[in-house]
Amino acid sequence: MDLRDTAEEAAFRAELRAWLEDNLPEELRGFRGGSARFDGEAARDWSRALHDAGYAGLTWPKGYGGGGAPYTHQAIFLEEMARVEAPPHVGVIGLGMAGPTIMAHGTEEQKARYLEPILSAEEIWCQGFSEPGAGSDLAGVRTSARQENGTFVVDGQKVWSSFAHIADFCILLTRNDPESTRHAGLTYLIVDMKATGVEVRPLRQITGEAEFNEIFFSGVEVPVENLLGEVGGGWQVAMTTLLHERGTLGFALQAALEVQIRKLAALARDRGADPIQRDKIAREWIEMQGVRFTNYRSLSQLMKTGMPGPEGSISKLVWSEANQRITKLALELLGPDAALGEDNAPYGGYWQYQQLRSRGNTIEAGTSEVLRNIVAERVLGLPYSR
């Protein structure tokens, strides 16, 4: 047990810190979350800069253009990015979900074609999993993929898809066998978002901005070489994607939480906090440290055994509820100013936006209800509730 950086980790951290100091454009500092805020040209340039410096795909194998670095470097990267409030690489879905899934299940041709442009931010990916009738219950997917003359013909609707409005490709979960139910008969496809019959409609959300989209597929022809895994084997491939979605995510979330609490403390110093509010702030700081060291335990286990510890599964659940409490507490500290709209509010409306956005945290990437089921069933071994 040694919670300090090793000499090698310390060197990596120092080098990264210096690089961020020199390269992060001033106007990109203070990233406030929500993908709608960083899909412009500046975000692409920033992503390219990260790639050129070797910080995109740190843990990807070198053979696929990644850094071949240990997970501890990825954790340090996320901590340092949060420290200076830098926006992430724009290819979040590609780096965290599509890329690892292609590495695990793709053909050599697919790896050669798709991986490098993810790292360089030349191509952006989105995810087509959820449907109006299949949210938490993903096995209810109904978007169809009929096999016709050597192609898949896709019809259906996906929803809650971040980046779809700027994406080049979509990882799409479809049903190839209309007679099938649940986990059987599913097929995982790579779909060109520029193909005929793909229509993207932005969804305006609670914050007023459009971060998510609906995607409509009408007779979209997908060539057979875009199949990922086997026909009918889509569920296993999708599980790989979701495993990666929740992989080192914990570090990004803990780092985001730390930034949020730092800002909350600054707000409290600025506007004053009574003893009860001070108690709440201390509670949040302590719990955030708990998440940090729980992530460290899980990561250490991963480094030693190749399998993350079960305690890592709680990070997203804890973060999402903490972020909701913290942003609510910030509004309380603002007093009557909390009611002011973005243009009139103190701090540029940061807290008003954060508080509304936080309501999505317990829904996106696994609702809190689903995550509690996962902990109860897979970690504690309780009977399935369904």
């Binding site: 047990m1 040694d2 919670l3 300090r4 950086d5 090793t6 980790e9 501890t72 954790a75 403390a265 409290a268 110093r269 906090a273 003893p275 001070r278 108690d279 702030i281 201390a282 509670r283 700081w285 302590i286 719990e287 440290q289 708990g290 998440v291 940090r292 060291f293 729980t294 460290y296 335990r297 990561l299 250490s300 286990q301 480094m303 030693k304 305690e311 709680i314 659940l317 804890v318 209800e369 995550l371 509690r372 089921n373 902990v375 109860a376 069933e377 970690v379 504690l380 071994g381 309780l382 009977p383 399935y384 509730s385």
Partner: protein, 324 residues
């Protein structure tokens, strides 16, 4: 960065768990034979020359087993104040100690000797009368001392900060052992007890509170091990880490025990089930030493006050010495 236990530390935990399952109330000389008393005492004084992380492993297991004896008061509280020759006596199992933290002294029923914090140092209290007071947790009596004279001077007052950090961290990790055991009972019950034709753990009204209890146990354990490591390494964060760990783990253990009692239904409310003993230990830890609210006020001060004149450790030193 490595936040895993060594194979030796894992072996120590396994040894402790197996031993205490068989014999939850070992004698002081048996603890000496096991080598648990001299864990952090130098080898030339008959100890193992290890540190607080190994002691934390034992505190967690002793909490889990609801051990009754002066281990906490000797090892967490008194040890930093003892000169080498008295440490050697502890390692050999010849003496045990307690420290008069405040009006209510822990382990006074079992500890051989009593240390008190005076204005400028830690002294042995000699010739005092002891009165043992019944406590809600029957395995953790408290007592009061009357009269007596400061005798031998054990150390200067600089150890008070270390004592404060060690006791908070020890109580935190002990609370984790208690909470984990209560959660295990609840999981076992929820996977066997049937109502309305199915195992009650299959109802989300039961399983989700258990998932939350697990979350509390794991966060508490992460904080407590962080504190233990900081104490062992004399890390600069040890004061805030031990305060955070005790605040979170003690309240967490109480909440986890309450969930466990609720999940058990009527049986959890009975005297014959062990749960009430775990619950009472958790309540004891929550109330002993500095309260969670007070500790959070210290944490808040370190976060929010530009000139927090007394540092965390200075505040703590004052707290301990005033009561001594």
């Amino acid at each position: 960065m490595d936040f895993t236990f060594t194979p030796e530390q894992d072996a120590l935990r396994e040894q402790a768990r197996a031993y205490l399952a068989d014999k939850p109330e070992p004698s002081w000389s048996e603890l000496a034979e096991l080598g648990w008393l001299g864990v952090s005492i130098a080898e030339e004084d008959g100890g193992a020359g290890l540190g607080f992380v190994e002691e934390a492993v034992l505190f967690e297991e002793l909490g889990r087993a609801l051990y009754h004896g002066p281990y906490f008061s000797t090892v967490a509280a008194a040890l930093p104040a003892l000169p080498d020759e008295l440490r050697a006596e502890v390692a050999a199992g010849e003496t045990s100690w307690t420290l008069a933290f405040g009006p209510l002294v822990p382990d006074l029923d079992t500890a051989d000797r009593i240390a008190i914090v005076g204005g400028d140092g830690v002294y042995e209290l000699e010739g005092a009368e002891r009165e043992i007071l019944e406590t809600t947790d029957e395995s953790r009596p408290l007592g009061v001392v009357r009269g007596g004279e400061p005798g031998r001077r054990l150390s200067d007052a600089s150890v008070v900060t270390e004592i404060r950090d060690r006791t908070l961290a020890a109580l935190a990790i002990e609370a984790c052992g208690v909470a984990r055991r209560a959660l295990e009972y609840a999981i076992e019950y929820a996977t066997t007890r049937e109502q309305f034709g199915k195992k009650i753990g299959g109802y989300q009204a039961v399983s989700h509170p258990l998932a939350d209890a697990y979350t509390r146990v794991e966060l508490a354990r992460s904080l407590s091990l962080w504190a233990a490591w900081c104490v062992a390494e004399e890390d600069e964060q040890r004061a805030v880490a031990s305060a955070s760990a005790k605040a979170y783990a003690s309240e967490g253990a109480v909440a986890v025990c309450e969930t466990a009692i609720q999940v058990h239904g009527g049986i959890g409310f009975t005297w014959e089930h062990v749960l009430h003993r775990l619950y009472k230990r958790a309540l004891w830890i929550e109330s002993f030493s500095t309260s969670a609210t007070r500790l959070r006020a210290e944490v808040a001060s370190s976060l929010l006050d530009d000139k927090h004149a007394p540092s965390l450790s200075a505040v703590a030193a004052k707290t301990v010495s005033r009561s001594g």
